[in-house]
Subunit: 195 residues, 2 copies
DNA sequence: TAGAGTAGAGAACGATGGTTCTCTGCGCAA
DNA sequence: TTGCGCAGAGAACCATCGTTCTCTACTCTA
């Protein structure tokens, strides 16, 4: 018999793969059971309802996203490169052949209208990413309005890459981000000179 | 007995409202029937399957989007204002209290993994918007790389506004677009001077 | 070895899905 | 008026959903 943590991880990773590929409602719990190899009884002992499983998937994705961004950012040198590294991280992700957009956006569109728990989890993840980018902008000494603009580019790149199927949306977003960053710093330097 | 076109319009507009608010799979055909007042027999005579109804909803949204963009753009003066007008159009849309993101993105996330027809319809709408923006950029004399960047901002604004619930994503997108446009034109003027 | 307890497989259950069918009733031609 | 045809309401149908239950079999202790 397998360990509880192992069973939990198997169920969540299986559910993640299936929900992300086909949508949540298109995947039955029976399929999760078959593909994870964990019995329904065990699954329901770990996750009281499908909704809880969906939330567990979102929590897992949040952790993965955070460590991914951290890794990408930490590899970059200058503060401005650290901002651009976020878009390199996106580019890498978009090239995975299982890529099908941002799971948070997809789940929100499918379930957010009726499930407050899902909507709230998605909102929190997006807000957390926004805070992360704002912090990177602050560290680079950029103006406050830059962060939400860069976030829009990242979000747009995710949906565009998903729908078009072409990963070069990340390159467009990176180029646009580069322009915005450059202009923002010119602007703030001008502001400094004006003082 | 009501006209065929009237019945069709009633069914599609009802399905649009319900699918958009709750997601496609969360809404049964029986609810569409109840809320539209058109019998199931009639609905299935007009739309052979739920999938066809979903496609009809997408076609309707495509028409509305196109006329909306056309209206917004035609009200603006200079070619560069015409580009920015797209973001004013978004701002207006985001303030509607039924706003819940881009239906194409939502439907793609929910159904695009399994339904090629839906995925293709969404892809085509996004490609059409991209062509539209590219044409506006061309008319304004901007460089070719500007259009996909502006599109990313528009897409990002839609999902961000939907998830955060705050319509000011449109303002951020507009400001970023303004910066990108200004930089692009400075760049192309420099290029012209260099000739 | 005997027995208690637990895990797994999957049948069972009630609800609901998309889709079809039946039955009722109304309008209309002869 | 009579019979025909079609529209509408919703019951019916089968599959599948999320969830629970049962039964078998195995493990571990005394």
């Amino acid at each position: 018999m397998i360990d509880e943590e192992t069973a939990r991880e198997r169920v969540v990773s299986t559910a993640d793969r299936l929900f992300y590929a086909h949508g949540v409602q298109a995947v039955g719990m029976d399929t999760v059971r078959t593909e994870s190899g964990v019995s329904l009884k065990r699954i329901y002992a770990l996750f009281p309802s499908k909704d809880d499983l969906v939330l567990a998937v979102l929590r897992r994705r949040t952790r993965q996203w955070d460590t991914g961004v951290t890794g990408a950012v930490s590899g970059a040198g200058t503060p401005r490169d650290r901002l651009l590294a976020v878009f390199d991280f996106l580019a890498e992700w978009f090239r995975e052949d299982t890529f099908r957009g941002c799971a948070f956006i997809n789940f929100f569109g499918e379930l957010g209208g009726d499930s407050n728990r899902v909507a709230e989890a998605v909102r929190e993840q997006k807000a957390s990413f926004q805070r992360r980018v704002a912090e990177l902008v602050r560290e680079a000494g950029g103006p406050g309005h830059l962060a939400p603009q860069l976030v829009l580019l990242a979000e747009g790149a995710q949906t565009t890459a998903a729908i078009s199927g072409e990963p070069d949306a990340a390159a467009h977003a990176r180029a646009a981000a580069d322009t915005l960053i450059r202009c923002a710093f010119e602007g703030s330097q001008e502001a400094e000179r004006a003082l």
